[in-house]
Symmetry: C2
Subunit: 256 residues, 2 copies
């Protein structure tokens, strides 16, 4: 079994929560990979540099100055901090952007209807599972940020949930794979104010019903769309849970 | 033969010179690795963030805020720009800091007599030649920045010339290796104002004479000390030359 774990931006912004999560991740037995977001630090750096942050539908509009900022923060600061801390925990982490070894090629998103600038979409079938396999077989733990490239020398800001899905789908071509989305909430909740309202499992049919009923909305829609896509693409288990429950079994399991 | 090439900061700051250098590097046949500096961009980012840059003996004093800046610039912006551009040139580049895969462990420099902060020194015998070999054997071209780590979760700012020397010495344990230091000058010059005064070759003995005579001074002393150390450690050929002469034979050859 290969464990692919995604850790969300809000945990990364909290040093104590991140430290605790990295200890749990380092303790996971066997082959594994980590994918991280890192939102707030990029917004903070943009602000300090006088670069305006524009979000449309939860997505960062990434002009030339902003792609430099997210490359510095995600591929530089956040990625290397995580790698050095995992190394200190005895976990042989190695950080990668999608450009490194062309492991996750992306395509710049069409400027129509919305021009997001240097934002990319990933075709998970093009992810280089043979490079990932060769690293994992050496005992290395790849740590991915969500900066990819277009193959023409341009870096692209991609969605970290989509990177996690693409990495898990590539790993599923190597060996049975479990994908766990970790964030600050206990799972997908019926009532966002009530942490006891976690939905234990969601399949394609119940997803549609929950979406139509407005129970699943906003950022949870693309997260679940990604999760269902991964389940369809052969990822054996997909779960959305609280970061502190990485080693547990709580949260929401997504099945097809 | 493995070609290890170091590209200096001033070429990185000049987009046209960098583009031309990367085309030449991508054209080099066979197994290779690149090591890059990246000085000015870090000073610029520090200034924009109101962080004062202090240099002592040409070395950046690296406090906690500054190690974040150099990690963002060297491991993030510069490294991923170079990787994505090499990928566009058909060169299968993969960026690494010393923390990644613990490939280049470093030791934080003693705060006595000068406290440089998060600055590290490299013991080239501890560089993981087996990881470098496994990447190179796959046809991958490792691209190293000079950010390393202490194994306790702290990132360290290291000297890019020393990283190049350490990588070349590790490669020399795999196969015969050529180390080329590329920068904006035509080589080591007798008269810094006269580009026709390049010294074609320097050995240990002539180095001492040139240093005592004040002909080799400032930043050239550690560069040559590193170059001689690599030659002693088994690197078959060490050369210092203009970036545009990478494929040529000009510049200064260092022998023991």
């Amino acid at each position: 079994m290969i464990n692919v774990v995604k850790i969300g931006g809000n945990v990364i912004n909290d040093p104590e929560a991140l430290g605790s999560f990295l200890r749990d991740f380092a303790s996971l037995k066997g082959r594994k990979a980590l994918v991280h977001g890192g939102g707030k630090e990029a917004t903070r750096l943009s602000a300090a540099l006088g670069i305006e942050t524009t979000m449309i539908e939860g997505r960062r509009v990434t002009d030339a100055a902003t792609v430099d900022v997210v490359t510095m923060v995600y591929a530089g600061l956040v990625n290397k901090r995580i790698v050095s801390r995992l190394q200190a925990l005895g976990c042989d982490a190695l950080g990668l952007s999608g450009a490194d070894g062309n492991v996750i090629p992306a395509t710049r998103r069409s400027p129509v209807p919305v021009d997001f600038g240097f934002v990319g979409d990933i075709d998970s079938a093009r992810v280089d599972d043979s490079l990932i396999a060769s690293l994992i077989e050496r005992g290395i733990v790849p740590v991915f940020c969500a900066i990819c490239h277009d193959g023409d020398g341009n870096l692209l800001n991609c969605n970290a949930d989509s990177v996690a899905a693409a990495v898990a789908e590539a790993c599923a071509r190597i060996a049975p794979t479990r994908l766990t989305y970790c964030f600050e909430k206990p799972g997908v909740m019926r009532d966002i104010e009530d942490e006891s309202s976690v939905i234990p499992s969601i399949d394609e049919k119940s997803f549609l019903t929950l979406k139509e009923g407005g129970i699943i909305a906003d950022g949870m829609v693309p997260k679940l769309t990604n999760a269902l896509k991964s389940a369809r693409a052969g990822v054996a288990e997909v779960r959305i849970c609280r970061a502190s429950d990485l080693a547990g079994e709580g949260g929401t399991v997504i099945t097809i």
